[in-house]
């Protein structure tokens, strides 16, 4: 599935959840379902800056030409948010990730997390993943 197909799928999933409680319970469940990160990546180097909770993010470029992300957080809502973004962006090429437009966040009713001043750092998470993608892109060009 393309990044936008995944986003549309998420929009459909969240549209079944009518009130905020259901949405947040689903987000919390996404957090709980997030596959664990390799403990060796839970270091300060892997922390995303700008989050009030700790969010660790690791990016890997595999032979299939795609990037894969793993993450963890000490706060479950942050973990749900990073899980959501991983579901959208993980398993795509650096180029696709770098140019992805995450329109679904607004549409699934988590708009309040998109404010750059919000301390949860959803914006920081997306930015960090894109930075990894751009870094791999330039590495590949120079290889």
């Amino acid at each position: 599935m393309s990044i936008n197909e995944i986003q549309d799928e998420l929009i459909a999933e969240f549209s079944m959840l009518t009130d905020w409680v259901d949405k947040y319970e689903y987000l919390i469940q996404l957090g709980k379902d997030l596959p664990p990160i390799d403990p060796k990546y839970k270091t300060d180097d892997h922390l995303i800056k700008g989050c009030q909770s700790k969010v660790w993010l690791h990016a890997e470029y595999k032979d299939d030409g795609k990037m894969y992300f793993t993450a963890d957080s000490d706060a479950i809502i942050s973990k749900g948010l990073v899980s959501l973004v991983i579901r959208i962006l993980s398993g795509h090429t650096p180029e696709e990730i770098a140019k992805a437009e995450l329109y679904c966040i607004d549409q699934i009713g988590l708009k309040e997390h998109l404010s750059p001043t919000r301390s949860n750092g959803l914006v920081s998470m997306i930015k960090q993943m894109k930075l990894y993608a751009i870094a791999f892109q330039s590495q590949l060009k120079n290889a």
Binding site: W20, V21, Y24, E25, I28, Q52, S53, K54, D74, A75, I76, I77, S78, S119, N120
Partner: protein, 417 residues
């Protein structure tokens, strides 16, 4: 679950009306829920009288202060200087010129750390602060100590969040140049015995700075009775405008301290060879001040005095006690800061939850709290926690809002489990 005893406390009334009815911002809904505002230690909402004063200022006397020959400038100058006299009376300062206007508590402390530091701190000297200071009462002193070759000493606390005052006997010595301490801890709520601390420091002739940012909105202050040497607070935390802060300093110290910033208004005469500084208080007020904030601070003081403050303090103490009782019954909830004497602030964590998660869910239910380290990272390190959820009370909060908080906390916890 929680035993409801809220009926024994009635909301605070001002002229027979609930005090919250004077606050336009408290009448709104967020996410379709009536707003409950528990982030008062960060900033309070403003009564309509303060908002009206701001509109009136810009609609009438707006102009630059001092040296103005025209009518408006004289009116604005007079209004600003009237605020200085009001603030002096509000905290019982001996002289109006002992009141310096700043941008806020942080700038007031930076002013003292810089100017008093330049005047008094020498290599080998020391500055004493406490383990529960806001970063604003740590970092300026670290900078001053680094600049002057002095060292920083810290009064320790116990695990209830009470300072170990006896340690002062070891910490204070003939090389201590100043003791800077908070009256009420912004993250723990501890009400410190500052009079005892000031007395101990004065035995060594050590001046004391009191961070009253969390005290000024809640209790009457008499700087002559407590005999502090400096006292700092912010307008916006006491129902007043943002961007106006106060530094009270005893004349004898302010006279000796060099200026903090150079510019207009702080000078008597400027020549390229030598500038002669202005008298107090203007020596410390370079540049065009925050005139609107200064003038409208009077409306905030009017509001506080109309309560009056000692009654508000008694009410808020009841409310804090009620909140503590009710919240203690939430399974897994641990109150951070269990000092015997506390005021207005209740910090807590809940087992197996992150403060951030609790804060986000409360927000969705219309309850504004603050989460995180509250600019007191050393306090969080001491308790070995990433942060707390902080409920900070003001006079417009009510027992039924506490009940709603408890219900919403139950709901948040069940969602997070």
């Amino acid at each position: 679950m929680a035993v409801n005893i809220s009926s024994t406390i009635s909301p605070f009334l001002l002229q027979q009306k609930p005090v919250s009815s004077y606050f336009p911002a408290l009448q709104q809904q967020v996410y379709g829920q009536p707003l409950i505002y528990f982030d008062n230690a960060a900033t309070t909402q403003k009564p309509k009288s303060v908002i009206d004063a701001i509109v009136r200022y810009y609609s009438t006397i707006n102009s630059n202060v001092h040296r103005g020959v025209h009518y408006l400038s004289q009116q604005a100058t007079e209004a600003s200087e009237e605020t200085r006299r009001r603030v002096a009376r509000f905290i019982h300062a001996r002289h109006a010129h002992e009141i310096i206007f700043t941008r806020g508590t942080t700038e007031s402390i930076n002013l003292v750390a810089y100017a008093y530091g330049k005047y008094a701190l020498k290599p080998g000297d020391n500055v004493v602060i406490s383990a529960m200071e806001h970063h604003s009462n740590i970092v300026p002193w670290q900078i001053a100590c680094e600049d002057r070759g002095a060292s920083l000493r810290v009064i320790p606390m116990n695990d209830r969040g009470e300072l170990l005052i006896d340690e002062l006997d070891h910490l204070l010595d003939e090389r201590t140049r100043i003791l800077a301490i908070t009256w009420i801890s912004n993250s723990l709520g501890t009400l410190n015995p500052i009079e005892e601390i000031i007395q101990k420091a004065h035995q060594f002739d050590i001046p004391v700075l009191i961070d009253a940012a969390q005290a000024a909105p809640h209790m009457p202050i008499d700087v002559q009775t407590i005999d502090c040497d400096f006292l700092v607070f912010s307008g916006h935390k006491m129902y007043g405008p943002t961007g106006i802060g106060i530094l009270y300093g005893k004349e004898k110290w302010l006279e000796q301290m060099p200026p903090y910033q150079g510019g207009g208004e702080m000078i008597k005469s400027v020549r390229f060879e030598k500038t002669e500084y202005n008298d107090l208080p203007f020596k410390f007020e370079a540049g065009t001040p925050h005139i609107e904030g200064t003038v409208c601070l009077q409306a905030a003081i009017d509001f506080l005095e109309s309560l009056p403050l000692h009654k508000a303090f008694a009410y808020e103490q009841q409310l804090l006690e009620y909140a503590t009782q009710q919240m203690s019954q939430i399974p897994g909830l641990r109150i951070i800061g269990q000092a015997q004497h506390k005021a207005s602030i209740l910090s807590f964590i809940i087992e197996n939850t992150h403060p951030y998660d609790v804060g986000v869910l409360l927000d969705k239910m219309g309850i504004a709290v603050r989460t995180g380290h509250h600019c007191t990272q050393p306090v969080m390190d001491f308790f070995g926690i990433p942060g707390t959820v902080r409920v900070s009370l003001a006079v417009y909060n009510t027992p039924s809002e506490i009940d709603r908080l408890v219900t919403c906390l139950d709901k948040a916890v069940s969602m997070l489990k």
